[in-house]
């Protein structure tokens, strides 16, 4: 009788749960969990969170499947990512003692609090703790976007002085303490994953050890294979925007570019906007709807979409436009465009510029410049020699590569 090969035990943890609320980090964590769960040599569990549950049955419960746990968070300090719940340490420790994972992979540390790394280390001294960094949250208090308040200028580095300028009500000292606090707990993480080199560099500049960060994409769903080929009746050039409709996603740049095209009497270009605007502040919603009403027939707001329909919608457009006016990191929309073979037009900054190679996977335009975007779309619609249509390689195995990279990292026994 031979002993079965020992399975690697992995707990994937995220600040949300896709069955409760869908956000980038929790979807990435969930995708990863699904991939790991499918592996024969892996025992995987998922720990999600739900915020401010009134009167929960217990702190950590199993409302879903046997392999899923949900922590009912009770209040949270989103400034320094500290968890004030006195019952969390014991509940989390009990769970770790029950599951005995070899690796805990955190996507995000919201709701758990950065102290979670220490609690994990105390509960299981030998456990390997991995953290995928989402956005620039530890660096920047402005939702981790690294754009200034209130005017959304690009920010290149955080400092107590600079951050205090964005948040005049928060003293410089508190920004110093915030960083001190976060770095004290980040020190207990064995290895970090940065979805883009750009993000890695920002975190290294902020103070993380470069040797402890690896650039690795988030796992995304594979492209749907059940879709019929797209047949187009018209000769229109369709540029599609996919994502939450917000100021930082550059929606104003896109609408202004549409207005410039119409003013220049350019026909034959249609801009489709796919996404939800009702998650934004009321003033933004009002401004968006007003602009939309004034936009001409070359703009179409198609409403929200979800991950089951995105592939079909993308295949109907000629180009995916990503006009974000913040750095981005590794926006899912780029991976979605790639797996559907769509060319991308994006701002020439940060993670977007890194992931989309100018002239290979698509084209860059000067971030925040509607005229540049309008000209670029016009040239692409004309498909002249100066801007030929390019088709990015669709790598069917992107997810497999990502999972394999993760797996390699999980198996490294000596991470530090």
């Amino acid at each position: 009788m031979t002993a079965a090969p020992e399975k690697l035990r992995i707990l994937v943890a995220s600040h949300g749960h896709p069955a409760i609320a869908k956000g980038g980090a929790e979807i990435a964590a969930w995708r990863l969990f699904e991939e790991l769960r499918a592996k024969a040599d892996c025992e995987a569990w998922f720990l999600g969170c739900e915020g401010d549950v009134a009167d929960p049955h217990a702190r950590i419960t199993q409302p879903f499947s046997e392999r899923e746990y949900v922590y009912a968070a009770q209040g949270f300090d989103w400034f320094r990512f500290a968890n004030p719940d006195p019952l969390f340490p014991e509940a989390f420790t009990d769970l770790l003692h029950r599951l005995r994972p070899d690796v805990i992979h955190f996507h995000h540390y919201g709701r758990f609090g950065v102290e979670v790394f220490h609690i994990a280390r105390r509960a299981l001294p030998g456990v390997r703790i991995i953290l995928t960094l989402h956005e620039y949250l530890a660096i920047c208090n402005h939702f981790g976007q690294m754009v200034t308040r209130p005017h959304f200028h690009l920010c290149h580095a955080a400092s107590p002085i600079a951050c205090n300028r964005c948040f005049p009500d928060i003293e410089r000292e508190r920004f110093f303490l915030r960083r001190l606090y976060l770095q004290r707990y980040f020190a207990e993480v064995d290895h970090f994953i940065a979805p883009s080199a750009f993000l890695r560099d920002r975190y290294v500049a902020w103070g993380l050890d470069a040797a402890r960060i690896t650039v690795m994409e988030n796992a995304v769903a594979p492209a749907r294979t059940d879709l019929p080929p797209v047949t187009r009746q018209d000769k229109l050039f369709r540029a599609g925007f996919f994502g939450n409709i917000s100021a930082l996603k550059g929606i104003a740049v896109l609408l202004e570019a549409a207005r410039l095209l119409r003013a220049a009497k350019v026909t034959g270009i249609v801009i489709e906007i796919h996404g939800e605007y009702r998650l934004q502040p009321p003033e933004f919603q009002a401004a968006f709807l007003e602009r939309l009403a004034k936009a001409g027939s070359n703009v179409l707001h198609a409403g929200p979409y979800d991950e089951t329909s995105v592939d079909a919608l993308m295949r109907r457009v000629d180009v995916v436009v990503v006009p974000s006016i913040w750095w981005e990191n590794s926006p899912v929309v780029l991976q979605e465009a790639q797996r559907n073979g769509r060319m991308v037009v994006c701002s020439d900054i940060g993670g977007m510029a890194e992931k989309v190679r100018d002239g290979i996977d698509g084209y860059h335009f000067s971030a925040g410049d509607p005229q540049a975007l309008a000209s670029l779309l016009q040239r692409l619609a004309g498909a002249g020699d100066d801007a030929p249509i390019v088709t990015p390689e669709t790598s069917e195995g992107a997810t497999n590569i990502t999972v394999a990279e993760h797996w390699r990292l999980y198996r490294l026994r000596a991470m530090r």
Binding site: H57, A58, R59, I60, T61, Q62, P63
Partner: protein, 723 residues
């Protein structure tokens, strides 16, 4: 104008301290008015002196109508030499002269003063003030009378009257002179309109606070007098022959009638405090204390037979109040410090504290006096201060009892850690215990309504208290009735929520009609709580077994109850058995209870549900445990009766289940969860929200009650190494 009068100077001299020549004599009537003002020249042998003159006339009856006495003052910065020859009055043609009489003589200053002495009282108002003040200050005083004199709380009070012609309040330095000694102290003087006086006389009240000097010179006789300066005037008050000299209570009695006549203000407040009666005569006399003490009683709650709970607040400097005493009928009871616990008190009291300069966010209190209250007797609080002063505070009549009283008691407190144990041991615990006993001692009126014909000899009686939510009953009866019809089960619902009686009757009728199962509905006349409601059901039950069940527990299939009864039938050492209970999402709500000590709550034992919220672990059979939940427990009826059901000392619903399990284990029987039986439990949703503070504190009360009974047993059971 012709002037023909005559005048003579009897004496004259230079008063160097006032730089005046002063001349005394007499003049005929027509001259006399001229001496009082104008230029005047004194002719001396060696020269003359001219200066402005002032003078006064006074009656000299000895002259027999020839004239009046005169006193003339002439400014002169130095004495002249030689004899006075004449005094020239007036100017020009009216110039007349007065000559010294033949006995008229120059006198030295001492003699001058002697000669002036008998005259000055008659001319005091006519001569310049500064002169009079120098010549005889006594004559310039405003004189008044003292008709009431005494001391209370170390404050000397002097009442009388004086011709002061105004109404005001002033701080002064008052000098008391008696028997050759004088003391001077700061004092408050109040002038008021006093009946029976003619203007300019007004009533005078002087308060001289206690000082060493004032104490030593207690004015016990009527020979002294008090003097003070008021707006530049010297005022002297002297006792009348009939002056009333009283102290303490009699002084207060004498002062109180004055109070309405005095202007309101700070001094009035002080006098009011001073005058407040010191023996209890109803009302609040805290204002009479020298120190600031505010004591308000929000609620007095009788805890029969002779206990009293006081909810209120007390604002005073920490060292001010020496003790509090409850007077009630024959009882006089000192409130021991540990019987008064501090609690946070909002409702604007903080604001009052700030105004008084007393910052105490926990100025609220809950006090419990176990023995010392007689319900229908006159009751009040006595407050003694460190100074030795005493004040009284009346008490509101008790109005709360039973559940409302317990709520009021628990709503205001938030004890944890070090505060918790003394609060419950000394105040909350014993008080609530009494209130609960009193509540349950009342006759419990019930109405029993039978729907359908009950089974003649049920194997098991299911007893379900109903509270707040009736809608669960619809689901529960439906699921219970899914068992084959005709089964030997008796269904007893106990409605512990009187306002819902009509709804419950209608619903029971509907469910009986729908499922044709007999239902016994017992309606309570007041809300008693889980333990009493279950016990009332138990007394009605006829089954061999009873199943004590919550209204939000639902079976998932048939025959579960029979199988649980079988467990008891086949296992004689098993006292109580229950099923595993699951939440709606299939995770564990209950698979047996253990205990854990909660540090914030006195390290007392609280029920702990291992595996709660997680998926059930594999495995079945009977799992022995220290306790099982009262949400669903099955036991022999005779055992339940022998145990007296749930202990009703647990109020509303907590801990009575583990108490029953521990008592059953005391008999040598065991408790277990049957892991093969799984029912749904929508735990606590049928209970009042735990967000209510009094409800949370009631759980702590129940924990305290449980702890005091079981701490030794549980400490033994829970210590490592014991099984």
């Amino acid at each position: 104008m012709g002037v023909s009068g005559r005048g003579y100077i009897d004496f004259y001299g230079h008063a160097s301290d006032v730089d005046h020549y002063i001349l005394g004599g007499w003049a005929s009537e027509d001259l006399s008015e001229m001496v009082c003002a104008g230029l005047l020249t004194l002719l001396f042998e060696d020269g003359e002196l001219t200066g402005s003159a002032s003078g006064a006339i006074y009656p000299r009856p000895a002259l027999g109508g020839l004239g009046t006495g005169i006193v003339i003052c002439v400014t002169a910065d130095r004495p002249m030499r030689g004899r006075l020859q004449a005094v020239m009055l007036g100017a020009g043609v009216d110039r007349i002269s007065i000559t010294p009489s033949k006995d008229g003589a120059a006198v030295d200053e001492e003699a001058l003063a002697e000669m002036l002495a008998p005259i000055l009282p008659h001319v005091s108002r006519a001569l310049p003030r500064f002169l009079m003040e120098r010549l005889n200050p006594d004559l310039m005083m405003i004189r008044g009378a003292i008709d009431l004199l005494g001391t209370a709380d170390g404050i000397r009070v002097i009442c009388g009257w004086a011709p002061l012609g105004q109404l005001c309040e002033r701080q002064v330095e008052a000098t008391w002179s008696a028997s050759g000694t004088t003391t001077t102290d700061p004092a408050t003087v109040m002038l008021y309109e006093r009946d029976g006086l003619v203007a300019p006389s007004v009533g005078v009240v002087l308060m001289i606070p206690a000082t060493a000097g004032a104490q030593a010179q207690h004015p016990r006789d009527a020979t002294g007098s008090v003097r003070f300066q008021l707006d530049g005037e010297t005022v002297v008050l002297s006792p009348t022959p009939s002056v009333q000299i009283v102290d303490g209570e009699r002084l207060r009695d004498a002062l109180r009638p004055l109070l309405p006549r005095l202007e309101r203000g700070h001094a009035h407040d002080r006098l009011t405090r001073l005058a407040a009666p010191r023996s209890y005569r109803g009302g609040n006399t805290l204002g009479s204390l020298s120190d600031v003490v505010r004591l308000e009683i929000d609620e007095a709650i009788a805890c029969p037979p002779n206990g009293l709970v006081l909810l209120g607040w007390l604002l005073a400097n920490p060292s001010t109040v020496e003790s509090l005493w409850l007077h009630s009928g024959p009882f006089v009871t000192k409130l021991q410090p540990e019987q008064r616990i501090s609690v946070a008190r909002g409702g604007g009291v903080e604001e009052i504290g700030r105004e008084l300069g007393l910052f105490d966010p926990r100025c609220g209190f809950i006090a419990f006096i176990p023995e010392g209250y007689e319900r229908d007797a006159s009751s009040y609080l006595e407050i003694r201060t460190q100074r030795g002063e005493v004040a009284y505070r009346d008490l509101p009549a008790p109005r709360l009892s039973g559940r409302r009283a317990i709520e009021a008691l628990l709503d205001g407190c938030d004890f944890q850690y070090a505060d918790l144990e003394p609060a419950f041991d000394n105040v909350l615990g014993p008080a609530i215990r009494r209130l609960n006993q009193d509540r349950l001692a009342r006759p419990q009126a019930t109405v029993t309504i039978q729907f359908g014909t009950p089974h003649p000899a049920p194997r098991c009686s299911v007893i379900v208290p109903l509270y707040r939510r009736l809608d669960y009953m619809d689901f529960q009866v439906g699921l219970l009735a899914a068992d084959p019809p005709g089964r030997d089960v008796e269904l007893i619902y106990v409605l512990d929520d009187p306002p819902l009686r009509r709804d419950a009757e209608n619903l029971a009728a509907l469910l009986h009609a729908r499922f044709d199962v007999p239902i016994t509905l017992i309606c309570l006349a007041e809300n008693l709580g889980f333990a009493p409601a279950s016990n009332i059901g138990l007394r009605t039950a006829r089954g061999t077994f009873v199943c004590l069940l919550n209204s939000d527990v639902f079976p998932q299939g048939p025959a579960w109850l029979d199988r649980l009864c079988d467990r008891l039938d086949t296992n004689q050492s098993l006292g109580i058995v229950g099923p595993m209970l699951l939440y709606e999402d299939g995770s564990v709500q209950h698979r047996g209870m253990s205990f854990r000590k909660l540090p914030q709550f006195g390290h007392w034992f609280f029920g702990d549900h291992p595996g709660k919220g997680l998926k059930p672990e594999p495995g079945g059979g009977l799992a022995p445990c220290l306790s099982i939940t009262g949400a669903c427990m099955v036991l022999r009826r005779d055992l339940a009766i022998e145990m007296g059901g749930f202990d009703e000392g647990y109020i509303i619903g907590d801990f009575e289940d583990s108490d029953l399990c521990l008592r059953v284990q005391d008999l040598g029987l065991s408790c277990a969860v049957d892991l093969d039986e799984r029912l749904l439990h929508l735990e606590r949703k049928s209970q009042a929200s735990s967000a209510l503070r009094w409800r949370m504190n009631l759980t702590i009360y129940n924990a305290w009650f449980h702890q005091r009974r079981w701490q030794t047993v549980l400490t033994g059971l829970m210590s490592p190494g014991t099984t």
